[in-house]
Structure formats: structure tokens, C-alpha cells
Amino acid sequence: MTVHLLDPSGRVGEPAKQLAPGLPVLTGARIAVLDNLKPHAGYIQGAVARLLAERTGAVVTLEIPKFSAARPAEPEVLDRLRESADLIITGSADCGSCTSWSCHDTVVLEQAGIPTLLLATAGFTEIARQVSSLYGMPQARVLTVRGPLGGSSDNELDAMALEALEDALVLATTTPSAPDAA
């Protein structure tokens, strides 16, 4: 009486991808911010970038927006980042489509050889990891901040950035390996 049911999900052909190597020394490194224009995303990413620069002697060279959180970064924006940055802070991942497209941008930038920190709020960190895994990059550098960003004051955002500084330093200067396969 055995029956055979067919799988409704189909194949997935996305190959595994490698991270860009971390920067052993940040002194003199150029940090850029890719802002997806979600409320306060650019603010907190800029805050993390400046804290990193103050701590290490790096410089913040570029803060650039893309057209929308719900679209990939435009080719000209990616070109500017490639020209201007040794390290990128992007995001924010604090909603669904913005997380998904931020993961996309992160993978593109890592593949371009630039270590990229994807700033995600705590509520969206897991989905950011999941989507990055679907792109073949489960080890993506996800930098978690407390969140939420929307509705938070500048003081709260500054505090979140400061809390995340140590994690940002580790992610920028190391090359995380993929977690064990599920």
C-alpha cells in the first residue's frame, strides 16, 4: 500500500561562496556605509563606522544610499563602493524585503573582495542568516544590534552602535567560517 509522493520544492542550485578575508589591521583602512534608506539605517551604520574609525585609526570615506531598501544596490553604487572601501557596513536588515535585499548586496560585495558587515536588528538576525545561507553564504558577517531602529531616538541608536562595536571589530578583522551544516 506504499505510495510515492513527489517533492513540491524542486532543486536549489546555489553554490557555496567564500567570504572576503578580514582585515588584520584597520588602521588606515577605508570604511564605507551602504545605506538602504530605511529609517535610521544610515544613522546607525554611520555611527558604527565612526566608532570603528575612532578606535582603530581607520577613515570613513563614503556614505552612499541605494534607491530603495526593497531593491538591490544599483551597479553605479556598487562601483563607488568598490573604488572607495576596504570595509563596508550595509543594511539595515530590520524588515523582510530589506533584509533579503541587504543579504543580496552583502554577498555581491563579499564576492567583490570587500569584507561587508550586514547590520541586522535582533528580530531579523535569524532571517538574515537564513537568507544568506540560501545565497550560499551562511558565514556572512551579520552584525546584530538590539533594535528596533524605527521609532528609536538618536541617543538610543548611538547606544546600540556602541554595544555592537566589539562585535564589529571581530567581524571586520577575522574571516568567520561557516557554521556546521544543519
Partner: protein
């Protein structure tokens, strides 16, 4: 020959095969739950025989990759889509419509990555046009959005199942077990959202013709919210009052149309409203132009409500007391006729950064 083979994929199968002790509803439910599949409702067990019947007569290559559905990036082939069509309860012969809907969702302007992962409750609205409506038994009249008609219900459901299974758009919030759909609440139309254009009751050419398409049938997909109803029994003669009510529904700051000026609306006119409008000599374009003029709010009020918004440049140049349209072009107001008797019509707002796509079917 697969009938004597042990459990495992058939040699030519694009989809894996799972061996179950039986296909009782409880067994199938357990199979779905163990894998995080399904929409929560019972499905038809996708046996090899049923899937083969769904594929029979399909005119194309069953293993063509129609598209890769994000965020999971699963390959949508007619064969795998047929599995989902069976599960949804589709009748044989519906597969070309599901393939067409999938082609539409994979068009870049549809932005399926966004649609299938956003916190917004957007669903995929599916509209069937032309000869396929009668040929497959779609209901374009009373209750076209359901419930009750198999074709309407199951095509919309098959699209959703494909997005869940192939696209991995399963509910995913903090602590939820799904994959990547972050919709804060979701909406009922995420189960199924399909209706048919009522060409017989339309005073104008069928919708695909208005886009320049001449095919016998077509399927439109659009990333939309649930419809909002408009009731007008009072208007006779000039149709302005009917459309004024629609304009008030369109001109809310509670939809993403307010934030994204390139976004579309679908206006689904009931046949009686359409007849009133056409009797006054109005063409489809007149309805679009009128709503474009009427669905406006003070530019200063837009700015007071949204700090980061995607408005086209000329909108940004308006003075605070100028009236800003809810969409940047009258063409973004999509007009078609569906439904049965009654003085009701629908306004369907958009998710925003998505464009509807109409795919010809012959």
C-alpha cells in the same frame, strides 16, 4: 519503469519522490508538517500518477527552468509546478496558467524577492483573461474572488504553494520555524488570490488588449494588498460620484502607494458600475485620468507623514499646498471589470516596489 522501483526518484524526475505507507489525510498532513510544507490546509496527495496526469498534454518542456524563485532560489519547472498544482487541487489542464503566472512573477520588475520576503502582507493577485476563463471553468461573475469555484480557488492556491515550497516563502519571524517570509501579519489572500476578468460584462476591450497583447488568453500577476470595497447605489448619469468614492479609498496614507509613486492600483469595477461609467461615454483611459486627478492629497501632508519616500522628482518639487497624486502616472491605475450584479467595485492597493506583469497564454 517506476512501478517496480523502490522508494526513490524516478529516473526522469525533476522532483524527488517520498515513500509513504498510505495517502490518508493524516499521513499526508504529517508528511507536510515534518518538512514545513503546505499552507495549513489539507492538500491532494501528489502521487506520481496525479502529477503525470497534470503534466499530460503540457505543450512545453516539463524540465524547463521557468525561473528561480527567491529567497530559497528553488528552480520552478513545469514538473515541480505540476506537483504544487496537484496539491492545490487544480484540475488537469491548468498547468499552462500556473506556468504563465510563474513567468510573470519571475520578471525582474515584479521583484519577487521583495514580494516573497517583506514584512508587508502583500500577496500575489492572479487574474485570468480571455478564452481560458470559460475553458477552465473560472468564475468571473458573482463571487469571483471566492469562495466556491474550484478553478479560481486552486490556481491562486497553486501560486501560493509554489511560493511556499519552491520559493521558501514560509512565515519567518523571531522564533517561527519558517524560512523567509517576514510578513508581520500576513493576510487572508495569501491562501489564494485569484479571479477572472468578466469580458462579457465589460464595456471595454479585455485588459490584456489595453496593454497591446493580442493572445487568446493571458494571466496577470500583481503584488497587492487585499481589495477594499466601494459601495455606490446612488449614482445615475454622470459617473463622477462613484469614482470620487474610489479616489477617497486610494488617497489614504495607510498604503504603500503613498510612499512609492511608481506603484500601481487595480480598480476592479463591478459590471453595473462599469455600465454606468461607459453609458456616459467614458473610456477606460477616462477613468484612469479622472482617478489620477481626484486621488490626491496636499504635498505638505505627504511630507509630514513620510521622511524617506520614493516619489518621482516632479512630485518633490510641488509646493506644500499643491495636490500630489497618489501615483505618478494615470497608467498606473489599472482598470478591469469582474464580478456579478450589484453596486460594488474594488480598489486594490499595491505593495509598492513591484510591477504587475501580464503573460500571454495561447
Amino acid at each position: 519503469m517506476v512501478d517496480s522501483a523502490p522508494a526513490g526518484p524516478a529516473p526522469d524526475a525533476g522532483a524527488d519522490t517520498h515513500a509513504l505507507p498510505d495517502d490518508l489525510p493524516e499521513t499526508v498532513y504529517a508528511w507536510l508538517e515534518a518538512r514545513g510544507w503546505g499552507d495549513g490546509l489539507p492538500v491532494v496527495a501528489p502521487t506520481e500518477e496525479r502529477v503525470a496526469a497534470m503534466l499530460a498534454g503540457y505543450p512545453g518542456d516539463p524540465d524547463e527552468v521557468i525561473g528561480v524563485l527567491p529567497p530559497r532560489l528553488g528552480e520552478a519547472t513545469p514538473r515541480v509546478l505540476a506537483v504544487n498544482a496537484v496539491m492545490a487541487g487544480c484540475a488537469a489542464g491548468m498547468l499552462p496558467l500556473l506556468v504563465a503566472a510563474t513567468r510573470g512573477m519571475c520578471a525582474p520588475e515584479f521583484n519577487l524577492r521583495g514580494v516573497n520576503s517583506t514584512t508587508h502582507p502583500v500577496s500575489v493577485m492572479v487574474v485570468v483573461h480571455g478564452q481560458a476563463v470559460a475553458a477552465h471553468g473560472f468564475n468571473s461573475g458573482t463571487g469571483t474572488l471566492g469562495p466556491g469555484n474550484r478553478a479560481n480557488a486552486t490556481l491562486g492556491r497553486a501560486v501560493r504553494l509554489a511560493l511556499l515550497h519552491i520559493g521558501g516563502g514560509t512565515a519567518k519571524g523571531a522564533g517561527d520555524a519558517g524560512l523567509a517570509d517576514a510578513a508581520t501579519h500576513g493576510q487572508p489572500s495569501k491562501y489564494t488570490f485569484c479571479f477572472a476578468e468578466n469580458a462579457d460584462a465589460s464595456p471595454w476591450a479585455v485588459y490584456p488588449r489595453s496593454l497591446g497583447l493580442e493572445s487568446r488568453s493571458a494571466v496577470t500577476v500583481a503584488g497587492m494588498e487585499n481589495p477594499h470595497n466601494i459601495h455606490d447605489m446612488e449614482t445615475r448619469g454622470e459617473p463622477g460620484p462613484i469614482l470620487n468614492k474610489m479616489a477617497t479609498v486610494m488617497a489614504t496614507f495607510g498604503t504603500n502607494n503613498a510612499v512609492v509613486s511608481s506603484a500601481e492600483y487595480f480598480i476592479v469595477l463591478g459590471p453595473e458600475h462599469a455600465a454606468t461609467i461607459a453609458a456616459a461615454g467614458w473610456a477606460r483611459q477616462d477613468v484612469q485620468a479622472y482617478l489620477f486627478e481626484k486621488a490626491r492629497r496636499r504635498a505638505g501632508d505627504f511630507r509630514a507623514n513620510f521622511r524617506s519616500a520614493l516619489w518621482c522628482p516632479w512630485m518633490r518639487a510641488l509646493a506644500d499646498d499643491d495636490l500630489q497624486p497618489m501615483t505618478e502616472s494615470a497608467d498606473n491605475i489599472r482598470i478591469l471589470v469582474a464580478g456579478g450584479p450589484g453596486k460594488h467595485s474594488l480598489v486594490v492597493p499595491s505593495w509598492g516596489l513591484t510591477r504587475s506583469v501580464t503573460v500571454p497564454v495561447d
